[in-house]
Symmetry: C2
Subunit: 364 residues, 2 copies
């Protein structure tokens, strides 16, 4: 096996297939080198739990089901096979991965991550690009849920992001928050663009959050408020979510509307004091692009966080409506995003209560 002598901060040196002219980044690679020995800028993690992403686990469970009964042994066998063959946990059908929790075992002398041996961390990048080896045969996992107790090791590259799990919070709360922490960080930045006058004349912007009662939506509302937004409008699909959100006071107006309905959404936002200067799309269903564009004022900004967003529907939709809006792809990475989101949770009892309600059975 040929080994690159120098490492790349994005992990190119761990890509085993394809190589040469067709070389890809680790996420697109068929196979990674998961050897435990570190290049100088890497970190090795002792794995504790894998969290398979929802789409991946659903595909595996459905594949290995008969009469609605999941064959957990078969799911476990396939997961072990994938990791052994690919050197990472990337579902070959969905392409997705998940994240992991573990403890820092070794830190390379040139690691820029600031992590220390013994830190308990969660990775904030996908398992689909993280070199991984399993040593316990996943014997403590029944193959029937997304949380996988595991022993083995994983590798972080120079630029791989991982966050220390805070000791003052229920780890399940922290993980929920970290999972969506890119949204409030980017919303804060955009609202500050407005309040500082970098965009517009410094007037606090009216902000509408579609899916305001969800995890990324409620944190986005809290972030917009703290960053100095003007009127805050939350859009939710059903009464239960409206009642929940009204009780928190996170938004000035909470309205019920179908975010896929152009007329329904734009009228609801208008009645609540819109159109919005900044519209934040946190609704994970297809077809919200043109409605979001219609609900946003000319010269306004739309931030798409939903993975169901269609690039073409947004681009052609704005053109078809002659709508001069700035449309941002919600980058999941903003420096300091995990700390910012955890701080919002700590400092805002209403956000915290909303998240804690999700820990309870049937909590949403």
């Amino acid at each position: 096996m040929t080994t690159r002598s120098t490492s790349s901060p994005v992990g190119l040196h761990r890509v085993l297939e394809p190589t040469g002219d067709a070389a890809t980044l680790p996420q697109a690679a068929r196979r990674l080198d998961a050897r435990p020995e570190l290049w100088p800028d890497e970190v090795r993690i002792d794995v504790e739990t894998l969290n398979l992403d929802a789409a991946s686990f659903r595909q595996l469970a459905e594949k290995h089901s008969s009469d609605g009964i999941v064959d957990g042994d078969a799911v476990r066998t396939e997961v072990l096979q994938i990791i052994a063959e690919r050197g990472k946990m990337q579902n070959p059908v969905t392409g997705s991965g998940g994240m992991l929790i573990g403890t820092v075992a070794e830190v390379g002398p040139e690691s820029p991550t600031g992590l220390q041996v013994g830190d308990r961390v969660a990775t904030l990048v996908s398992l689909s690009l993280t070199p991984l080896a399993i040593t316990d045969g996943l014997e403590r996992w029944d193959g029937r849920c997304e949380q996988v107790p595991a022993r083995g090791h994983a590798i972080l590259f120079g630029r791989t992001i991982a966050a220390r799990i805070p000791e003052d919070l229920d780890p399940r709360l922290s993980l929920m928050v970290m999972d969506v922490c890119g949204a409030p960080a980017l919303v804060e930045r955009v609202v500050q663009d407005y309040t500082s006058g970098r965009i517009g004349d410094g007037t606090p912007p009216t902000v509408a959050v579609l899916g305001g009662a969800g995890k990324s939506g409620s944190l986005s509302l809290a972030a917009a408020r703290r960053a100095g937004a003007g009127r805050l409008i939350a859009v939710v699909p059903i009464e239960r979510e409206r009642d929940l959100l009204v009780s928190t006071g996170l938004a000035d107006e909470v309205v019920i509307a179908d975010a896929r309905s152009p007329l329904g959404l734009s009228r609801a936002v208008e009645r609540a004091g819109g159109p919005a200067d900044v519209t934040v799309v946190c609704v994970d269903v297809p077809g919200c692009e043109q409605p979001a564009i219609l609900a946003t004022s000319q010269g306004g900004t739309i931030i798409f966080f939903s993975m169901a967003t269609s690039f073409a529907a947004a681009a052609l939709g704005a053109e078809g409506l002659a709508s001069d809006v700035r449309m941002l792809i919600g980058n999941g990475y903003v420096p300091g995003h995990a700390d910012l989101a955890l701080d919002l949770l700590r400092s805002n009892p209403r956000v915290r209560a909303l998240f804690e309600s999700r820990l309870e059975p049937n909590g949403g």
Copy 2:
């Protein structure tokens, strides 16, 4: 038939199916009302030529081919059928339309478009949302090319964009320019964000244009230069395009690289003076998202104009690389975009020569 008594600037009043709670915008509608009578803010066009979009024509031609011979009569019959059934020319398989050229026949008293009877115009929005009726059976069309001589009428809504076809330019040149005019307009705006200090400290940004020899790419280079960009890097896939572009002087550096290759692209841009502060993606092939991200500096901006862009690949790609970049969906509409692009062509003999070379046989 129930008729809305008031019109909507985005054409909701012309949607016949679906209606009620499921009502959509004209682009997503199954059927539009193409009656020639105008609502007060509308404009009626006498149609001269339909330009079917490339994806739509290819699908129709392949469907009605045997042994590589296109049955033009069958293609024409299907196009007539689509228009008659849907009240618009929207290919049901590709979802796409095209644009049209015609002459303004009537202007409603409340039309905000500024058009006048007799103006020769091109629509800058898709046929997929434009009410259309054909009266000549497309008898002058052989069904074998994308340009369709046609008689009939089309309707522009209050907010539908159309541009007068200039008299001083070959109409084919004007149409080529108008087809991609959103790109230079948005590039100009973003570069001015940098030079004015709204982003960064006012230093002229290094701009890389992927696909710099193409129509949108070359206009983007010219727009960036005029807006005060610093170093201009053009990336092209092959030597012929490099030689063509070097001769125009539109870029400071022209480099050959595969925009799908993360390492290949980022190294090429780096050698040419990168990474880029602003990366403009005009390459219509999938898989350019992570390469573009790697070629862009931290804190930089990427504008995606390619319809082959994957929203998820961009969002997850930036997260996976821990890359703090601002990613914009290339909105095809910016006020004044057609005039700006035509002006770039008129004032820049090099851009003009590049476009004129496309009019020649085998001109690209």
